[in-house]
Amino acid sequence: MKKICLIFFILTTSLFVITQTTKASNTLGVPYKTYTIGTNEGLVPTQTSYLPVGVLNYDYELNKPEDMYYKGDYLYIANTGANNIVVMDLDGNLIRFIGEEILDSPTGIFVDDEEMIYVADKGNAKVYKFNFEGVLLQEFEKPTEPLYGENQGYRPEKIVVDKRGNLYITGDGATNGVIQLNYKGNFLGYFGVNQSGFDWRMKFNDLFLGLTNQLAKNLPPAPKNVAIDKKGLIYTITSNINPSIKKFNLSSVNILNEDIYQPGDKLIDLYIDDYLNIYLITEEARIYQYDSYGNLLFVFGGLDTGNKRLGLIKKPTSLTVDDEGNIYVLDSSYNNIQIFQKTNFVNLIHQANQLYLDGDYKQSEQVWQEVNRMNNSFALANSALGKINMKNEQYDEALERFEIANDKDGYSDAFWEIRNNWLQNNGGILIISIVITVLLWNVTKYLLKRFNYVEKIKKVGLKIFHIKIVRELSLMFQIFKHPADTYYEIKREKKASYLSASVLYVILFIEIIASYYITSFIFVNVNTNDIVLIYELAKVFGLFLLWILANYLISTLNDGEGWFKDIYISSIYAFAPLIVGIIPLSIISNVLTYNEIFLFNFSHFILYSWSLILIFIMIKEIHNYKVGETIKNILLTIFTMVIIALMLFIVYLLLNQLSDFIYSLFKEVVIRVKNTL
């Protein structure tokens, strides 16, 4: 027990090593790094995609501006702190102020094709509609329809308007989704409601610590911001849910790829350009750019620490994009607007992507080649080139591309084609060779019998079988046919030993690790480069240890007849199906594609469930239980495992505190001594 604690302690502490990375600075005059999705599905550095080109120069003051919108050569800014709307051109020349003495902290702004200006005003809890000259035309107050809900608040924060004049409003605590009003202000319904999430941590806190507030628990998170594209589709962003970026069709169904790369911090604003690229800015001032399918193209940008470096932002509140593709970012702390200009590299990628989406593969191939030349690890380029290769029926090249890009669907398709071709060309040979093998086998068998070799082999076999460990290990095969009998033999006749069981544990572990490497990469969810031996050890053996220990403790209390030794030995023998099957399955996976994924998953499932069934039988036989008692025993064991894990965690926390204390004490003494010297 002590040892286990210690091991567990060591394992868990090793998980908490602080990592800090450093990179050589390269001196290219951009204060941030740019990343893209790399071929390992993570972010990899790439060429600068947007250059900071300056701060928009103007001679009137912005005051904590919260939103900005670009339309027809003008920037419209919700100048929240000054309670007005600023209209300026792209050189910073003031066109006019709007809504002075009407607005009270306007936080959202939108301009439609007729240059009608919609302002979401948080202070007055209204949405205002102005014309370009600044004349107030209409006010949208809280809907009176019963469907809206009388107790439901109305604090408009952000707004977009579609071509028919329908308003989409997000607001503080608008947890029912985006409020949709028609042009007259009638409530049409809620749009794009987020699911209320099931939070494991919350449940855990609830169950064991009683920390969460029952009332606040099950409201879905309110969308933080909303955008509209030229087709009239609505996009929302919501922090802390998955996926946090959604694109809705008219019936309020998310049509964006759910595996879209999730920014790690709070989302602030988004913009959709004419080519349906999605731009996103987060609290940490990172700007994300996705293509229309939700593939991440770039991430860049960062927070300013007070030196006011061009390109860094202190407190981003909004971003918008002009006709030339320059990004404008509004900063409500420095009260300014920064401009980012795209580089040729971005142009290349946009062009390639667009050509590809338009079906002009030949043209796009050239451009993608150039992108790939500039960045070999650009996953999207490799993937696109692979798909182009597929179209050109260059399956081998495609396979290679997809492997580099880690594009499993593509790889599977390419492999299917290659396999198909191979089968078509070599199908005859395959069948003939199978027939020959069968024939040869029978001939050999016959010959062996004829010349009495069978007896000799049997003799040798018996000799080997008489070696103790071999005999013990071979018990593993017997368990498939007669599980109950085998367990009887293990327990009563001591036909297996600590040694044989330990050997099997090690074999299983090695097989599990090996299977990561052997299995075709389309079926492995682990990046083999990320495998850390110690974690794998902890995962496999930690679980086994916990299981054996918990079961032993429970069984001794529940009149179980099994000893610790019996449980230790029998547990691993229950995993015989896995030990026997996992490697062959991994090997077979190399000739499978996603079309046969069912075969693979199902076989896996069988191996695991078979093992579980054997566990059940093992408990029953070893402890000599009835079915009911067995179930009870297993449930209690699992419960005990959870409790032990929890206990170890608490012990770990306490030890951590203790070591902190000792460290502080030590430091204190050192400082005192140093100071008095």
């Binding site: 990375t21 001196t27 250059l51 300056g54 595996d259 690890s377 031996l533 902190d660 460290y663």
Partner: protein, 760 residues
């Protein structure tokens, strides 16, 4: 019974699993998009501080704030006359040629300044101190005239004066030595003249902080001109009307801040700021009229460059070096948050010394400053004298990655990127394209691959050629007369490397910790400067054994830190140690982003900064560093693989007079994706060859006309169009714009350049 149960269970599970796996379905894809064309055309960038701006105001300066009233004559040289005020030791310097008077202070009566500020402006020296109290050390400040009780004892010397100052409030004593010297003025505070009291300890000293201060208001600039800050490649802060745009202080440690004293946080997204590699600043009063530049020649390693723009606290632009003798630091007392503030116990020892040189007429601009500063360095024997044989064509650096380490399940492996024999092929291949003036730098040539090996490098990596392979390479390059540099790093020690002792060789932060970082799971620690030297010198015989002659030291040129263990090694000590370590080395040495104190020992200057940190308050980026380096050392750009716009970048190379560089491998860079070198995203020789040849020729055709020459005039004709005039009369016009342009009757193609007076 049990058998039936067993079978039944299997069937049930089978059934369930079949239905579950069938239920898994695939996600759908979305709709089609419209046709699109992109065009890049935006000149905003040329008006940003990424580029040098057009000079519009050449008016002569007239400074109403500075006159000679109340100042007595001290001495004069051929160019200058020195005056001083006995009460506050402020000075006036008159330029004999132009008659312009520079002042270290100005008349404060009519200015928006309170008593404290007036004292600060008037005084020659202004200190901050730590006052010991029972609880903690308090920070205070005192200028010479703050209390009215300071004692000054001034003695006139042959070419200046010396003053013993005792501050009235604190009783801290120091000696100020001012000496006129031709075109320049030397100001020194010797370390041994400083006396502190029991109660008051010296924090920092500012010397003549208001020398050349310029007043601007919301609608007026009294003197046109700018401040030169050597941030990165160099930046200008033009005097501007007060506005919210420029109201921030610039304050930066020379040679980056000392990681032995200050914490350094690292961000995955935000790049560290550019460093100050040359300890200078300059002020221009009227472009092409009057200017001075100041060299921090003593105590630079312990000082900051500070610029106050007008609008921040005062109406003045003023700039100075701040000498730091003591700092306060946070001493962590627990592993999470707890810490106490402590004051550095021992004063850092150095003789603070500044050399001001006054320039006029055509020299009164940043180009003139660069040229005069280079002369200063030359005169003081601070430059490398060895020169390569000049060839007809410009040199190019090829840095090559041989192998990189990769984490494995049980053991690390190496990813082979370039074999030694591949390098020979590449060089031969390039020479067929008439590119023969190469500098090769090899990385990751040693047994462990690139990352994680420092400071333990021998023997050669067998996977990429072994001793034999590399020997062949060295011989082949010798024959072609191509210098081959082996890259190493002796300032850091990786946990999994040998050749150093974790107990004695590691540098210590002031709070007692080691200075440790991590690169992709490989932890390393900075080595004590003395250990760096020791280990380097112990390795020399290995160099010899392996026939390594030329070396490239990765971080030595730009990293400077103190070690604060039992025996303190200050940054000043580190400079001495590094200089002595390189002084004795016989082969060629290539250094990266070199700080001035190692210029003498660097035969190649790699990774010249090409940009500034681009603070809002900067109005321009200028090639100050590369202007200084002209004719003294071959300067190479950072790797051009990383340029987002290689055309624009190549033009900048020509503009700044620096040479091309590429980072090359034989294999495709995607193999590096899960290694510490993952930021090398494109380097395959075969896919870069054409670009290398193209860009080399592009740059060579311009710069081969001016090898060994310096720029005498750099003129921005309009935003994005630059004209450089070299000492041999050759003029190079550079057009960064996309469209063609005609200037001085010459048509320059878009994104191109034009050479006049070259060798054709």
């Amino acid at each position: 019974m049990s058998k039936i149960l067993y079978k039944a269970l299997i069937f049930v599970v089978l059934g369930i699993s079949i239905s579950i796996t069938f239920m898994i379905s695939h996600a759908q894809q979305t709709n089609e998009e419209d046709v699109v064309e992109f065009e890049l055309n935006n000149d905003a960038i040329y008006n940003s501080n990424r580029f040098t701006q057009v000079e519009t105001n050449f008016d002569a300066p007239n400074n109403p704030l500075v006159d000679l009233e109340g100042y007595e004559y001290v001495t004069e040289s051929e160019q200058l006359i020195l005056y001083m005020n006995q009460d506050d030791l402020s000075i006036r310097i008159e330029d004999k040629k132009t008659g312009y008077v520079w002042g270290s202070s100005f008349n404060t009566e009519e200015e928006r300044l309170n008593r404290t500020w007036r004292a600060r402006v008037k005084s020659a020296v202004w200190i901050t101190y730590f006052r010991k109290t029972n609880i903690r050390e308090e920070i205070g400040e005192e200028a010479i005239t703050t209390s009215g009780t300071s004692k000054i004892n001034t003695v006139k010397t042959e070419n200046g004066f010396e003053s013993d100052i005792t501050f009235g409030e604190t009783g801290i004593k120091l000696k100020l030595i001012v000496r006129l010297d031709g075109k320049g003025l030397n100001v020194t505070i010797p370390s041994d003249s400083i006396e502190e009291t029991e109660k008051y300890k010296l924090g920092n000293i500012k010397i003549y902080p208001f020398l050349g201060a310029v007043k601007t208001t919301i609608d007026d600039i009294t003197i046109p001109g700018y401040i030169l800050v050597p941030d990165g490649s160099g930046a200008l802060i033009r005097y501007q009307k007060q506005s919210n745009m420029n109201g921030l202080i610039y304050s930066k440690s020379l040679y980056r801040s000392d990681v032995g004293l200050y914490d350094k946080t690292i961000d995955d997204y935000v790049m560290p700021e550019q460093s100050i590699h040359l300890p200078v600043y300059g002020m221009v009063h009227g472009v092409n009229h009057n200017a001075f530049y100041a060299v921090n020649k003593g105590g630079a390693e312990s000082s900051r460059l500070v610029v106050y723009p007008a609008g921040k606290t005062t109406d003045f632009y003023w700039t100075f070096f701040e000498y730091i003798y003591r700092i306060q630091y946070e001493q962590p007392t627990s592993r999470d948050m707890g810490s106490v503030v402590m004051t550095q116990k021992n004063r850092t020892e150095f003789d603070a010394s500044i050399y001001y040189e006054f320039l006029n007429e055509e020299e009164a601009n940043y180009v003139g400053m660069a040229n005069q500063y280079r002369n200063y360095l030359d005169k003081n024997d601070l430059l490398n004298e060895e020169q390569f044989d000049k060839k007809e064509n410009i040199p190019m650096r090829l840095e090559i990655l041989n192998s990189e380490r990769k984490k494995g399940l049980l053991f690390d492996s190496r990813v082979k990127m370039t074999d030694a024999s591949d390098v020979i092929h590449m060089v031969n291949d390039l020479s067929h394209q008439d590119i023969d003036n190469l500098r090769l730098v090899l990385r990751g040539w040693s047994k462990g691959g690139l990352t994680g090996t420092a400071p333990d490098y021998f023997p050669f990596d067998r996977k990429t050629g072994g001793k034999k392979g590399y020997q062949l390479l060295i011989d082949a390059m010798d024959e072609l007369n191509i210098p081959t540099y082996f890259q190493m790093d002796y300032t850091r020690g990786f946990d999994n490397a040998g050749n150093f002792n974790q107990m004695v060789d590691l540098a210590r932060r002031i709070d007692g910790d080691t200075i440790s970082y991590e690169v992709d799971d490989y932890e390393y620690h900075l080595l004590k400067p003395s250990s760096t030297r020791k280990i380097f010198e112990n390795t020399l015989e290995d160099f010899e054994k392996n026939n390594i002659e030329n070396i490239a030291l990765q971080s030595l040129g730009n990293i400077l830190y103190s070690s604060n263990g039992r025996k303190i090694e200050s940054r000043g000590d580190a400079i001495d140690l590094y200089q002595n370590m390189l002084k004795k080395y016989n082969g060629k040495i290539g250094l990266y982003e070199v700080n001035d104190y190692l210029l003498k020992y660097s035969d190649e200057y790699f990774d010249v900064p090409m940009y500034s940190s681009q603070h809002y308050k900067f109005t321009d980026t200028v090639p100050f560093v590369s202007l200084v380096l002209r004719t003294t050392v071959d300067a190479y750009a950072p790797f051009m693989n990383y340029f987002s716009d290689i055309n624009d970048g190549s033009l900048r190379l020509i503009d700044y007079g620096i040479y091309p560089s590429f980072y090359i491998t034989e294999e495709s860079a995607h193999l590096l994706i899960d290694t510490p070198s993952k930021d090398l995203y494109s380097s395959k020789y075969s896919s870069w060859k054409n670009t290398i040849v193209d860009k080399y020729r592009f740059v060579n055709d311009a710069l081969k006309n001016v090898t060994g020459e310096w720029i005498v005039e750099r003129e921005v004709l309009e935003a994005g169009v630059v004209k450089n005039t070299y000492s041999n009369g050759v003029m190079i016009y550079i057009n960064y714009l996309n469209e063609d342009i005609t200037v001085d009757g010459i048509k320059i193609l878009g994104n191109h350049y034009h050479v006049i007076g070259g060798v054709a």
